[in-house]
Amino acid sequence: MFRSERARNLLYQVLLIAAVVGIGWYLISNTLHNLETRQIKVGFDFLSREAGFEIAEKPIEYGPADSYARALMVGLSNTLVVAALGIVLATLLGTLIGVARLSSNWLLARLASIYVEVMRNVPLLLQLFVWYGLFTELLPSVQEAIKLGDWLFISQRGFRFAWPAEHVAWTAAAWALPVGIALALLWRAWCKRTQAATGRQLPTGFGMVALIAGLPLLAWALLGAPTKMEIPELTGFDYQGGKVLSPEFSALLIGLTTYTAAFIAEVVRAGINSVDRGQGEAAMALGLSPGQRLRLITLPQALRVIIPPMTSQYLNLTKNSSLAVAIGYPDLVAVANTTMNQTGQAIEAIAILMAVYLSISLAISLFMNWYNSRMRLAQR
């Protein structure tokens, strides 16, 4: 039996599987046994119990009488909001800084380099503390808030701004926006097809702007064109009315964005550098402007190299948002920690956290891989 190589391979694999399963079995049975001696219940029943605590920021409806499951949903929505906004803003800022670092303007390039080196090398947690400290210590108290006219109030309680009062026209306009964007993309595809088939150029840009801006505007106008705004007023302890960006949210968003932008800048720079110099020179020889060169020749080729590391940066940003627990932003980890403490169900809560972060990361990876395969140039 030991002479045949195939038999030996099979034996090694069997031993490895036995070892892995054995270790897993030992860990699980040991844990269950310990939980039983300490009389800690195992199971997810605690999720339907009343939570009993208040959460500061709630994108969805929540009150202390709701269940732990609902509280965790609120935490999850907070995480998703910060992660989504962070990804968008970090990409924009990072791309700008990456391109700036390659600029022929010496000062701009050096400033971008300094930014990247500083932001990459200071731990994110410290950066978050700095931003949070800035917002709570340097900004004035609510009574002495900085007022910009009647519509923006800046204090250590956050950035409070006036917001249109509740009206069906605004809701309709909000729904019309994604519809407008979808139609604009369809219009652009149609224009490209027409140009490829017949050579006729349709007004692409104008049409897109008309759809994206015009459709919501039309919805708003048709349903009454309301102009009433909700102005924040100082009553008692704090301003009421309008919408507010709390210092916790702002510090987390700005901290995550500036930190991840430094990494994205390097990824973009690497991608642009990977494009053959000859391409740029050929573009110049053909008479393309620097802007056109970047947009039509360099970036499409650079994107092939940029997208995989960019996926990692997006995943990092999503997971780094869990540092919110240090500055008081109620993200998923913060709410799960509180739940763990109040119910004693540490293992179930951590399992939920791991499952959720795994799902979010897989979703982001899936989307980026699909985008990557679309961007792939046909093999020469």
Partner: protein, 341 residues
């Protein structure tokens, strides 16, 4: 033989082997573990003055710290053989559940769910407290009823958080929470003005106020909106250690009741003829031996940390809090120990 069949047979037997392994035996008791290690691992706060806080040289001091020292004196004979593990409000229970610490002496409130569902039990009450509010004097707030709409700093995963929500719900008032886990940070958020109010146990408010840049600017409101009996926690199922910790606590209170102090304990051991004191210091009876220790157990404790009154005045005195509920039952307080005999 068919290759696939052989492969599946071998795989199945490989998977069956772990299922036949017997369950691992349970670990030894906590007392054995402590004696073997030679050190008591105590979970304490990260820096609450008066309860458990490191001083500038890194030496720990406080009411909870002194209690840990008392337990170490009983179990190991030396009050200094303690390792202090700082825990914040969010990870304290998991450090106890997982076995990282032997006991939690960390100003934790005794509640039914913590006795029943956390895999731990309370060994008694070391300090009777209540939850209160602290505000800036400049805000002109004098009663809790004026706090509608306020922004309130609170630590997550505490009874404070739950009581606060209950209080505001029952009074039909609303508030905005600012929830930060680290003690230093939440004190900073309150002192900088991020929140209008700071809420925790009233002893914690007094301790935090000592760290304020200007102590006289702050006012602790008179209301105590809840009962907060603070006490040591140990893991469930460990009866011997439970008795040790519980009777150490009662021993401290009994010592104060009978006037045994760190100054006179040696003299009383040598000379006292009163039966209750003789039983406490171990010259008569077999109290210590009955619990698994020697008869000098309480003498060691009193010599190293003093009786309850001494511990209180040394640690809580500087916070400016009177004995009130924490006085002996003879002095109209709640400190009552069952007889040691």
């Amino acid at each position: 033989m068919n290759r696939t069949w052989l492969r599946s047979l071998v795989l199945a037997s490989a998977l069956a082997v772990p299922a036949l392994t017997p369950l691992p035996a349970s670990a030894g008791t906590t007392l054995d573990a402590i004696k073997q290690r030679g050190q008591l691992r105590c979970g304490v706060n990260t820096g609450l003055l008066g309860f458990s806080a490191p001083d500038a040289q890194g030496k720990w001091a406080g009411l909870d710290v002194d209690f840990c020292r008392a337990v170490a004196a009983v179990v190991l004979g030396d009050a200094n053989k303690v390792q202090y593990v700082p825990t914040n409000a969010q990870n304290r229970f998991t450090t106890l559940q997982s076995g990282e610490v032997d006991m939690l002496s960390r100003n934790t409130t005794w509640t039914s769910s913590r006795d029943a569902t956390m895999g731990s039990v309370f060994a008694g009450t070391l300090f009777y407290d209540g939850q209160g509010f602290m505000v800036k004097k400049a805000s002109k707030i004098t009663k809790a009823a004026q706090l509608n709409g306020a922004t309130i700093c609170v630590q997550p995963g505490t009874t404070t958080e739950l009581n606060l929500t209950d209080y505001f719900r029952s009074k039909k008032m609303s508030f905005k929470p600012v929830v930060i886990a680290e003690l230093n940070q939440i004190e900073q958020a309150f002192f900088s003005g991020r929140c209008d109010v700071y809420t925790t146990d009233r002893s914690g408010l007094a301790a935090s106020r000592l760290k304020a840049p200007n102590k006289d600017d702050y006012l602790i409101l008179p209301e105590a909106i809840s009962k907060e009996p603070l006490g040591p926690m140990i893991r469930r199922g460990d009866w011997d250690f439970f008795n040790t910790v519980r009777w150490t606590l009662f021993g401290l209170i009994e010592a104060e009741e009978y006037g045994v102090t760190s100054a006179n304990v040696d003299k009383l051991k040598a000379e006292s003829k009163e039966p209750p004191i003789q039983r406490l210091v171990g010259t008569s009876g077999d109290v210590g031996k009955g619990m698994g220790f020697d008869n000098d157990w309480l003498v060691r404790v009193i010599k190293s940390v003093g009786n309850y009154g001494e511990i209180y005045s040394r640690n809580i005195g500087p916070l400016g809090l009177e004995r009130d509920q924490n006085a002996l039952w003879k002095d109209d307080g709640l400190m009552y120990a069952p007889p040691i005999r």
